[in-house]
Symmetry: C2
Subunit: 130 residues, 2 copies
DNA sequence: CAGGATCCAGAAAGATACTG
DNA sequence: CAGTATCTTTCTGGATCCTG
């Protein structure tokens, strides 16, 4: 699997149409402040809306709803509404979502490992720039 | 390496201070429209500013400059200015940047593989929602 | 409880013009 | 060539109020 080939496909896809570039397509919504945190949180098991609000710090109702909709739309999570007296809705990872967590977690591990180095690079850069 | 532990650290870090959450910290700037594309493009070797502009479709001078600065600041790339008559500046991946491409590329491979499934999930969702 | 609807301030990003 | 500066537009997300 030649690197160039991968890169070329990526860039050409981006050039043609943002909607057809797989990388941008998924990275964009992974980029949202919250998607990643919600996915990681759901990795511990199904959770209800309220539990997610409490579990993901500082997220607003609006953003949580929006994030959940996007993740559901893309097939990363599923939504189960129980028609109880007061509505109760449960979200859980789909197989697709679970499989996504594998490369995502690898990236996170890298980040955690290198974070110190990145922070030092920043300090150095900022010091040089006054 | 227990999953829970990783998740917990992530969430607590996010709760405390956005600037200290490693995941958000790096994901945020990976999320920018262009960082990923620039990094992948530079994986083929050092490139000059103009070459990057032509190579990364539709990027504006402003955004390219900004992206390069951030990547340089975080230590992912290095910048070499040659004091020729007309300025010439070359950018190249640092070892840190190269090592970052490993997990990043794994994520991209996943995305490319599953993109069809994601798109189908979207179509299905949109069809149901009318 | 789990949202939907609306308003609005601030950040992000495109277009354009200028410079060492 | 490789940027910087400025203006303008678009987008994002928080706050608030409402509902089945």
């Amino acid at each position: 699997m030649p690197t160039n080939e991968l890169r070329t496909r990526v860039l050409l896809a981006a050039a043609d149409d943002p909607g057809k570039c797989a990388v941008r397509d998924v990275l964009d919504h992974l980029a949202g402040k919250w998607s990643t945190l919600v996915l990681l949180y759901l990795d511990d098991g199904p959770r209800r809306f309220g539990a997610l609000r409490r579990g993901v710090p500082r997220i607003s109702k609006r953003m949580l709803t929006q994030t959940l909709r996007e993740l559901e739309r893309d097939g990363f999570i599923t939504r189960h509404a129980f028609p109880t007296k007061l509505p109760s809705v449960e979200y859980r990872l789909s197989p697709l979502g679970e499989s996504f967590l594998v490369p995502l977690r690898a990236l996170i591990v890298w980040v955690e490992k290198q974070h110190g180095q990145i922070r030092r690079a920043r300090t150095r850069y900022d010091a040089r720039a006054d």
